[in-house]
Symmetry: C2
Subunit: 343 residues, 2 copies
């Protein structure tokens, strides 16, 4: 019996036990529950636009070209390709009267910001693991439109883009959608990544994330790549089958990406999430973008992290901030690589 | 419409949105699922001792007094009051040949340590929310016996004691039990608490935690107290109905507690977890001890944190380290206070 391995994240002071002692096979994680059936009256489906707030952005197709509109005067656009609107129960809301954001006594503040939903397709279950790449490209473009829009607000310091897949991962509605939350402070995890990557940039004149890409491209944790993006299982994965997607070109924010890169990003999302879907029968997951905050962060490198929800973080994880992962990332990468290879 | 409130934890740089916009009533969180039935062949029930590893500690009652024993030579003690044994799938294991713990290249190490289960009662479902206080006192004593034992190991830096209640909170078996994990490094959350409390100790010659007790005792977040312990909902609760239990006497570790204090601790656990149980129909929760690591940490103040699992931390929480909590701690405390008051 060899002891399990403790591993530390590339940049964060975050430790995980890769618990080979209780090593499990990928097949142990195959989901037995079916995806939820399409509900009778889905508020995100076409025809039910009145059940949600007016759209802040819709993509419409006119003469083969995307036209961008928003709902005004009680009118709801129909026949949309992608639709964005405020969350009915927003965690963050814009200031009503131009108030400035202010932290009082270092311990509380008003939660100024935005909280929107991005419906990814008029087709109820066209989620990124099975979407047409052309559709996914519209989703990426719409997300970036909203990112750009929110970053201009004076009270916004960071914009978090994420998607929760299936109810077990926190999705209260099953229609394919992402969410976007603009916050008035830089969140902790991003702050820690900024701190570590700034240090590497200043000490070694190099990007800490570019270095990770170089290393993982040749490692047994490599999963898939195309011209502009690479996917791998991180060295200190805190979730079974976790994977990260990085742009190969150093860029703090996805806003500067060109059409070719966006299409490549849609493609790698489609292939990797599709592989996960097929390997484990559509498991629940959380997906989060990590992007540079508003401002000058040339040393940062945007990316996406995908956290399948196949294990429960319980008392140990919650009271220590240490993690236990029963699938070594090398095994996760091999399974995903093989599955994606089958197409 | 007023914006939600952003709140920061007492000591950690951890922010939560108290989302009054989507404010929910306690009744919204009442569990509908019944507790799991007692399985036919529970490995933790009396008579099935051979299904688990030999006990490292059992409490036996002889002539009205507790006698401490351990299983040896294939013999399994029966008629135990409390029973401790190694986890069948340990996350951490002791070094086999006296190897020293060593972190290699700042990023990996062997996971030396211990991982044990503490069966809290011969009665399948005698969990702390409904246990006899006399039984709970035995559990507390056994936990502290193991804590003391593990802290003497050269490769142990910290001992984490926790309990996962119900399958949804990560308990793979329904028989009442806690777990104890001894780790070779100081976990992140404890390290951050140590750092912040050391600073307060050195700057103001006072305990940061004693100050919290003083403040919360008079606040609307107060829940319950007895002679030696106090329970309250923390200012920046990251979970609905979260509560913390603190000893009133400043003490880095529970090991120095006397019999009276231990009985008071068993009592406050029983009343608060019992209140939670009755208020929300036995919800899943994680409970974690926060104790001083091995060494001299006079500025630390041990305590217990209870995290009911009534909401899902999803893409936003996982990619930012910020939280959204839909029950203000003031409301949680009032409901728990009222429920405990009914006895």
């Amino acid at each position: 019996m060899i002891a399990n391995e403790l591993r530390k994240d590339y940049l964060l002071d975050r430790w995980v036990v890769i618990a080979t002692e209780r090593k499990r096979r990928p097949t142990d994680f195959i989901q037995k529950t079916l995806a939820e059936a399409k509900p009778e009256n889905c508020p995100f489906c076409p025809g039910n636009e009145h059940m949600t707030p007016p759209a802040t952005l819709v993509y419409l197709m006119e003469n083969g070209k995307i036209v961008k509109e928003r709902d005004t005067d009680g009118y709801r656009h129909e026949n949309w390709i992608v639709r964005c609107f405020p969350n009915l129960y927003p965690a963050f809301t814009p200031p009503k009267n131009g108030e400035k954001f202010e932290i009082k006594e270092q311990r509380f503040a008003e939660a100024f910001g935005h909280h929107e939903v991005i419906v990814e397709s008029p087709i109820h279950d066209e989620h990124p693991g099975k979407a047409r790449i052309s559709q996914l490209l519209h989703v990426v473009n719409a997300i970036l439109d909203r990112l750009e829009f929110f970053q201009k607000k004076s009270y916004v310091k960071y914009v978090s883009i994420f998607r929760n897949h299936r109810r077990e991962a926190g999705a209260s509605l099953s229609h394919a959608h992402s969410q976007i939350i603009a916050t008035p402070i830089i969140p902790k995890i991003i702050e820690l990544e900024l701190k570590a990557s700034k240090k590497a940039w200043e000490n070694n004149s190099e990007c800490a994330f570019c270095e990770i890409i170089q290393k993982e491209r040749e490692s047994p944790r490599f999963i898939w790549e195309n011209a502009h993006f690479i996917a791998f299982a991180p060295w200190a994965s805190i979730n079974p089958f976790e994977f990260w997607i990085f742009p190969k070109r150093h860029e703090p924010s996805p806003l500067n990406s060109n059409e070719k890169e966006r299409r490549n990003f849609a493609e790698i999302l489609r292939f990797c999430l599709g592989g996960l879907d097929k390997l484990l029968n559509d498991p629940p997951y959380n997906l989060g973008f990590h992007v540079a905050p508003v401002g000058d962060y040339e040393f940062y490198h945007w990316h996406v992290e995908v956290y399948p929800r196949l294990a429960i973080w319980a008392g140990f994880e919650k009271s220590t901030g240490m993690y236990i992962n029963v699938i070594p990332p090398e095994d996760a990468a091999r399974s995903l690589r093989e599955r994606i290879g089958l197409k």
